[in-house]
């Protein structure tokens, strides 16, 4: 089943919520993708998973992308039964980055979504355990955003501490024998 047929199939069921993008694919350099309206992504994914002619049983990856005013989540799906690939994209406004979770569709989405939350700050509603995955729990900000500023202090797991290379190291005398010489004889 090629992307046009998959798109028709989705269009029948979801109407204008799914839009096929072929602009780059027409130039022959990239894979076409289907854009899905924000709140419907979980239903579209479930549909892709359960319909017998789509059968996208393997969620290859869910990842985020900073696209300026919006944050985009990219879903790469693959079907072992049908040997076909599908790319879904879903944008949410940066100010309220909320998406429905797909953990109910594929258990594998658990860590994918945690990583997207960790790196981009997209909140997946209904996720059972939405914590940071790769960064420490007390990390400030979401570093894969293009406007992310590095923190002056590195947050490790136990709160802020200063750079050990910038600590003032007390100077010691060069020769330990000097210590002996400075002692008063007989003191």
């Amino acid at each position: 089943m090629n992307i046009d047929k998959i798109h028709e199939r989705l269009l029948d069921h979801f109407g204008g919520d799914v839009v096929l993008s072929l602009t780059a694919a027409e130039e022959g350099i990239c894979d076409p993708f289907i854009t899905v309206a924000g709140g419907r992504i979980d239903r579209v994914c479930l549909f892709c998973r359960v319909e017998a002619d789509l059968a996208f049983d393997f969620c290859q990856s869910i990842t985020g992308m900073d696209t300026g005013e919006t944050l985009t989540c990219v879903y790469h799906l693959y079907s072992y039964a049908r040997r076909q690939t599908l790319v879904l994209k879903c944008s949410v406004p940066r100010s309220s980055a909320l998406m429905p979770t797909c953990t109910g569709v594929w258990p594998a989405a658990d860590w994918y979504e945690r990583e997207v939350y960790d790196m981009f700050g997209v909140v997946f509603e209904g996720h059972p355990d939405l914590r940071r995955l790769l960064l420490p729990d007390d990390w400030v900000g979401h570093p894969m955003l293009k406007d992310y500023k590095e923190q002056p202090v590195y947050h490790a797991t136990v709160g802020p501490h200063s750079n050990p290379l910038e600590l003032e190291i007390p100077t010691t005398r060069e020769n330990p024998m000097d210590l002996l010489d400075s002692e008063e004889p007989g003191a």
């Binding site: 780059a24 130039e27 022959g28 350099i29 990239c30 894979d31 993708f33 049983d57 393997f58 969620c59 290859q60 990856s61 990842t63 992308m65 900073d66 990219v74 790469h76 072992y80 040997r83 790319v87 594929w106 258990p107 594998a108 658990d110 860590w111 994918y112 790196m119 914590r131 940071r132 995955l133 790769l134 960064l135 420490p136 729990d137 570093p143 894969m144």
Partner: protein, 375 residues
Amino acid sequence: MNELIFSYDTGDEMVLNMGPHHPSTHGVLRFVIRTDGEIMRDATPVVGYLHRAIEKIAEGIPYESLMPYVDRIDYVSAMTADHCWALAVEKLLGHEVPERAEFLRVIAGELNRISSHAICIGVMAMDVGAITPFPYLLRERETINDLLEEICGNRLTYNYLRVGGVSHDLPPGWIERCQRFVDHFDNVLPELDRLITDNEIFIDRTANVCAVTPEEAVAYGLVGPNLRASGVDFDVRRDVAYSIYDQLEFDVAVGTGSMGSLGDCWDRFWLRCEEMKQSNRILKQCLAQLPQGPIYNKPKRIRPTGEAWARVESARGDMFCYVVGNGTPKPERVHFRTGSYNAMQIVKPKSRGVMVADLVALIASLDVIAPEIDR
């Protein structure tokens, strides 16, 4: 996480930390284990100790400069990881690779797969208590490292592939040396089977331990050897043919549950032994068919637009790379999804109700490499 570590009032339960520095965790990897005696309630993986922000670094450097970083995503099988990145960029550019370069990539990749599987099964045998196979397999890996060092100068992080080809041609006499290793390796595998695969104690220790059903394997996104051990017949090399794999003959081994249940630790172990045999078979064909010609078709300008994904069969399974270009020499976004990442997710559901010692067998049999998870 904190509530897990510090909740001591859990009745008979005990909360233990395994790792981050533990010899059987294969890298810096931590598990928070809730146990009742020797039986685990569950083991929660805590990852991120080896997070090196490779995806963020990728946004700040040119496409071709990322290759050494990609090596470090999977340092046990860096050739196949390199192949994934090279393939993604070539697909984005629509760039052709000379045929000899494709052969050299496959030769290097399959050699690397053998050495990676050798480490995996050697370490797994060691983790469950059999020390002897490990040095035997390390000996073979050493020969492979020597061979790979001759073609690219490095023994671990090769940086051998380029966008559009490979960096060096074979030195004189290399094909004979590689042929000698390939012929010798045919005898190693029966020896290994006698030593460990068919060993009764080893089978008792690993059969029926943490079996993963085919449905679970697909739902949790297990890939590569872990997926095939659960009985799903899928190999990227055969089913999403890339490079020259469609010209080569090889069988895809699939787990059968012959010693216990389908998808148990023994199946995963056995499957990697079978894959080494097939890799050896591929190597023989490649060495015999290696064509003459250029090895590097240097792209004139790497400033792609659009986006592309690439999949390769890495030693740890289906490695996925997603790259977005914005018309500048630096990528807009790069994402890698690796086999260990998915394998690690299944540890928590699979660890419920098993012995603490079996967790070690489970992690080892999944062939988890920590930097692949954290990137």
